[in-house]
């Protein structure tokens, strides 16, 4: 019996990872056209550095970061800029985007290899990370270099790589851990150097034994790096839950951050991107996307250029099957349902899930809260979702703050277990939109 770390509460959705877990990553077809949003991260949107009609090459910067909390964006294919305008973003918002029409040559600007990458200083590492436009690839898309630059009064002593991938269906992180473990370990070492710590953990849920094995092997002989198997439980991969599971530390409530307990958490995919950026100078122009669900004909793990439209990717996977009813960008617990398939894959897109009729559960006709307390039992943050939803439903938004509304990170565990099928996450978002933190 392997020791496994975990946090309190949480839920156990069926992981459904079998659809894609064994499928090696393939390169997606080179898209004819990409729509690259200038804001694919939390923080200030990038500023367009190209104009309509410009010829661009792969890796060329097309949007610069105007502020500290921001990230530049790069061309993912070579071709001609045909539009700079607002386009639909998978989050449902309209975001200014650069549209590039491919010249089908896939010409790249030259990159510089730094074989002696571990000799670089912390500042140089962070600069290269920033220049490459790296953001958190787990979904939240927070600019990575910002996370690696905590204020001096918050000393960091541990870096945790998040390989939990607790969202059902998704296997993108799983695949890269199996396929590129050495690069991930190198990425972790660079991150540790950038924040100046000697202790690094890689947390992986136990339902990925091959990934645990691969990462253990890759980190052999690396002092200070430890692979930690985790209990299979959602939301095990949420930053705060992961820190609790691995170090036992609890990030304080009311807006506390991992750095308050001396931790920095990065997704394994981010670590891989960090290695590619620091070692080869490669900007973030592609990522692994799990295309899955019974609603798509072929389930795959695809290496996709940023900006590729979801409709193209689905075509790449044989198209939608007969009973497809819902297309989700991200995982089933926190992803966004799409109404238009002409949305691009962005840096934070970990998966495209197409649900078929039999995977879909309608929650249109939810009923009153029967106060069964299930949501309270599973809330990883120790909130009372039942009361928050009841108060929000009645329009008593201010009172929801007495129930620590803003500590909710919308993992959806409460909605998952609710026997009345109440739209708990909507109620939380509604209350958050009608009140201010504090």
């Amino acid at each position: 019996m392997v020791r496994a770390d975990t946090f309190e509460r949480g839920v156990h959705p069926h992981d459904s990872k079998g659809l894609t877990a064994g499928n090696p990553t393939q390169n997606a077809r080179l898209p004819k056209r990409v729509v690259i949003p200038l804001s694919q991260h939390i923080g200030a949107p990038a500023k367009a550095e190209v104009s309509i009609g410009d010829e661009v090459k792969k890796f060329q910067m097309i949007g610069s970061a105007p502020g500290f909390v921001s990230a530049p964006v790069h061309a993912s294919i070579s071709g001609k800029v045909v539009a700079i305008s607002d386009f639909l973003h998978p989050s449902g918002r309209m975001v200014q985007s650069v549209v590039i029409e491919s010249d089908e040559k896939d010409e790249a600007i030259a990159l510089v290899d730094t074989p002696d990458f571990m000799a670089l200083g912390a500042d140089e590492i962070k600069t290269r990370i920033k220049d490459a436009g790296i953001v958190g690839l787990g979904g939240a898309a927070f600019p990575t270099n910002v996370k690696l630059s905590p204020p001096k009064e918050k000393p960091i002593d541990v870096v945790i790589l998040n390989g939990a991938e607790c969202e059902p269906y998704l296997t993108a992180d799983h695949r890269i851990m199996v396929e590129q473990p050495k690069s991930i370990v190198n990425g972790l070492k660079l991150i540790m150097k950038a924040v100046g710590v000697t202790k690094g953990y890689i947390g992986i849920e136990k339902n990925k034994p091959d990934a645990i094995e691969a990462m253990k092997k890759a980190s052999e002989g690396e002092p200070g790096i430890e692979v930690r198997p985790l209990t299979v439980k959602y939301p095990q991969g949420a930053e705060k839950m992961l820190i609790k599971a691995i170090t036992g530390r609890e990030v304080p409530g009311k807006g506390g951050l991992p750095m308050d307990v001396g931790a920095v958490v990065q997704n394994v995919g981010t670590a891989l991107a960090v290695y590619d950026a620091v070692r080869f100078g490669k900007p973030l122009i592609e990522r692994i996307v799990t295309v899955t669900g019974k609603g798509v004909k072929e389930q795959k793990n695809l290496m996709v250029r940023i900006g590729t439209l979801v409709s193209e990717i689905i075509k790449d996977c044989g198209g939608l099957s007969e009973g497809a009813v819902k297309v989700i960008s991200g995982g089933p617990m926190m992803g966004f349902a799409q109404w238009d398939l002409d949305v691009p894959v962005v840096k934070g897109t970990s998966g495209i899930l197409v649900q078929s009729e039999d995977e879909f559960i309608s929650t249109d006709e939810y009923s009153a809260c029967i106060r069964c307390g299930r949501c309270i039992d599973v809330c990883p943050m120790g909130l009372n979702p039942s009361m928050i939803s009841i108060l929000s439903e009645k329009g008593r938004y201010e009172e929801t703050k007495d129930y620590n509304l803003f500590d909710c990170f919308e993992c959806g565990s409460c909605a998952f277990v609710c026997p009345s099928k109440r739209p708990m996450v909507q109620f939380v978002r509604l209350a958050k939109s009608q009140t201010k933190p504090g």
Partner: protein
């Protein structure tokens, strides 16, 4: 978008996009199912009359809910099993021998007044079946306190009337109670199997526990309320229930008689009317237990489970306000940060 997908209508809804299979009606029907062993036992002990009362309660409860929702143009929800459950629980709380109109009036009070007029499932403050029973007890005290001796035979339609074990205990004391059942172990055995006078479904401890174990196994109820409730009754009965000073009472008699097992596992645990937070549920259970013993030992009724649960129902929202779940990250602040303020 590719042409063949252009007309495809996609469903858009907010996360999470997967849900647990549990539903309200699944839970309600499971609780009904869990009550069946005890129900069958009541048919065995109290004969056709018990079946008649049960059918009346369930039929009229479901009927009233349907008529109410139909006449007010509300969504019909009788299929969710909650009206069926109210009827079943009401029946289990009634004596076997009643005029036909009494269960019907009880069902009306439970389903229409206590449940629907408060807004339906999820909004009622009190356990509907218990208010139904409380109303009947006050309105038709005579009928509601006539207990039949269990005959274990369908043939004996004219069974003798008798007092319940708690009635004997209250009026004539423990020695008389033991005498009535033979020896002390005979008494325990009778209480355990349900061969004694009482309400339809409250008598058979063993069959109630079988149903309760099923609910615990399915995680439809947790141990918090039943255990704190039963333990408080046992402890207080032992401490204050004896004639020869403190700690001379018999906790076993108190824990196995009256409606305690039925109440603790099936009525006090009613989601809508008990606290939602586990710590609060323990307080709720202790409160139920203390009130039960207070009524049994000092009150005018031999039995106190019903009033105890109803009284504690009033406090459930208050308990939920006072007790908070353990907030993640609510670690004690370091001294240094406190001083900075």
């Amino acid at each position: 978008m590719s042409e063949e997908n252009k007309d495809k209508k996609l469903i858009v809804s907010v996360s999470p996009h997967v849900r647990d299979e549990e539903s309200v009606s699944k839970i309600m029907w499971s609780v009904n199912f869990a009550l069946f062993p005890a129900l069958i036992a009541s048919f065995y002990y109290f004969g056709p009359r018990a079946m008649f009362v049960t059918a009346l309660c369930i039929g009229s409860s479901v009927g009233f809910e349907y008529i109410y929702q139909r006449s007010l143009n509300k969504k019909i929800s009788v299929q969710d099993g909650s009206a069926f459950l109210t009827g079943l629980l009401l029946a289990m709380n009634l004596p076997p021998d009643l005029p036909f109109y009494i269960p019907i009036v009880g069902s009306f009070v439970a389903v229409v007044i206590v449940k629907q007029l408060f807004g339906g499932l999820g909004y009622n403050v009190f356990n509907p079946a218990l208010i139904g029973r409380a109303f009947l007890l006050i309105a038709w005290t005579k009928y509601m306190t006539v207990w039949k001796e269990p005959t274990a035979a369908f043939a004996a339609l004219d069974a003798k009337t008798t007092a319940t074990p708690l009635g004997i205990l209250k009026e004539e004391g423990i020695s008389k109670l033991i005498e009535a059942f033979g020896t002390k172990s005979d008494l325990y055995m009778s209480l355990f199997t349900g061969h004694r006078a009482g309400s339809l479904g409250e008598t058979s401890v063993i069959f109630l526990l079988i149903g309760a174990l099923y609910l615990l196994y399915k995680k439809y109820i947790t141990w918090h309320i039943p255990v704190s409730f039963m333990a408080t009754v046992g402890l207080l009965a032992w401490a204050f229930g004896g004639k020869s000073g403190l700690f001379s009472g018999d906790p076993v008699i108190h824990m196995m008689s009256g409606g305690l097992v039925l109440g603790a596992f099936f009525m006090a645990t009613d989601y809508v009317t008990c606290p939602t937070i586990r710590k609060g549920q323990i307080i709720f259970g202790i409160g139920c237990g203390a009130l039960t013993i207070l009524i049994r030992l000092k009150g005018g009724y031999p039995e106190g489970v019903m009033f105890a649960i109803l009284l504690m129902n009033c406090f459930a929202p208050l308990i939920d306000r006072g007790v908070k779940p353990d907030l993640f990250g609510a670690v004690k602040k370091k001294k240094g940060t406190e001083e900075k303020k």
